[in-house]
Amino acid sequence: MNPEVFEFLSDLVKTESGLVLTPDKSYLLESRLMPIVRARGMKEMEDLVAAAKSKTDKALINEITEAMTTNESFFFRDTRPFDTFRDASLPFLLDARKQTKLIRIWCAAASSGQEPYSLAMILKEMQAKMAGWRVEIIGTDLSTEILDKAKNGVYTQFEVQRGLPVQLLVKYFEKKEEHWQIKSEIRDMVKYKPLNLLDPFTGMGKFDIVFCRNVLIYFDQPTKTKVLEKIHGLMPNDGVLYLGGAESVLGISDKFRPVPNFRGVYEMASENGGVTYAPPAAGAPAAGVKATA
């Protein structure tokens, strides 16, 4: 790829979304943006750059940004965080919030919805314990297109086979021709809103649990720190943050610290901050699947 083309596009994407693209990712620019080039009747990436430079076509800038920031998601991704949510975070909150009976959860990179819907299915499986409780699950993402997909809750055969126990497939999905749609009882449990993590988080409210998994990896260090600080500002002292498998707050933010014994989970690092989770049980059942009657 022409280095000037790469530089323009990577700068554009970084300004719009914070996403950092190193030169070794130029193949990704090609594969994600050539479809836009073709759809608009252009011939090459240079044409796309010329159109974007003219600054009159905001829709094109959005299209480019969304194409680069869309990432795939899976149900119950990495399994263990969902076990932790069910076996540690929820029991803790069922006690800590028993006055208000309200729990607020934010999925900060909701993508096509598998993460918030996985949480919703866990809650639905625990329906008896959750009687009288209100749980608000908010899913946000930069891309309005991917949020539309999340709202529809329609997935391919491949997507419903990765990470989703078949018992949950049968219980919570309906076959729609060759696709599978998650039932409205689950869809209704999640609200989706567009949100750019670079923008202020006004009007979001406070969250007891924040999932911010596998999105910070795309930002540079200062951006990661800033985003974590903003997330911290939306959380009570006993709130927890879930990060992706390869991520950590170490060296990035001193506002959070790891929760002992629970990989990938972080609590507030202040004096009054923190949660007390019972240590994980060995041999717990798979996420979402009932252990016993």
Binding site: T79, Q157, F158, Q161, R162, G163, P165, V166, Q167, L169, V170, E174, K175, A286
Partner: protein
């Protein structure tokens, strides 16, 4: 080393599955229909069974019903692997005692994900 019996009337499918499973450190056996599979289980019960539905002589669902009646037949983890991808087939499989269900086409990742889910990996 865990053992997995691959039951499918397609030689190609058996070969693909065998490759994937051997890479996952399974010792594999093969059967081209439900009757051959049943006989294999009677002599040596495997830890896991990857099971097709539509086969000559004896289908996968009939094999599964017979398997669960055998002494020691409750033990193997049975994962269906079939082109039948509607809810009624899946429900019938689960009711007959299947542990998981893969809808073809499958790849190594799906097999790994499903086998992990049932505790085989």
């Amino acid at each position: 080393m865990k053992s997995c019996l691959i039951v499918d009337d397609s030689k190609v499918i058996r070969m693909v599955a065998r490759k994937i499973l051997q890479e996952l450190d399974f010792q594999t056996g093969e059967a081209e229909d439900g009757q051959v599979a049943l006989d294999a289980c009677r002599s040596d019960m495997p830890d896991a069974i990857l099971l097709d539905w539509n086969m000559p002589v004896m289908s996968g669902i009939d094999f599964l019903r017979e398997l669960r009646k055998l002494p020691g037949g409750a033990a193997p983890i049975v994962v269906f692997c079939t082109t039948e991808n509607d809810i009624s087939h899946i429900q019938e499989a689960m009711d007959a005692g299947a542990n998981e269900y893969i809808m073809k086409p499958f790849d190594s990742e799906i097999i790994q994900a499903k086998f992990s889910q049932v505790g085989l990996l």
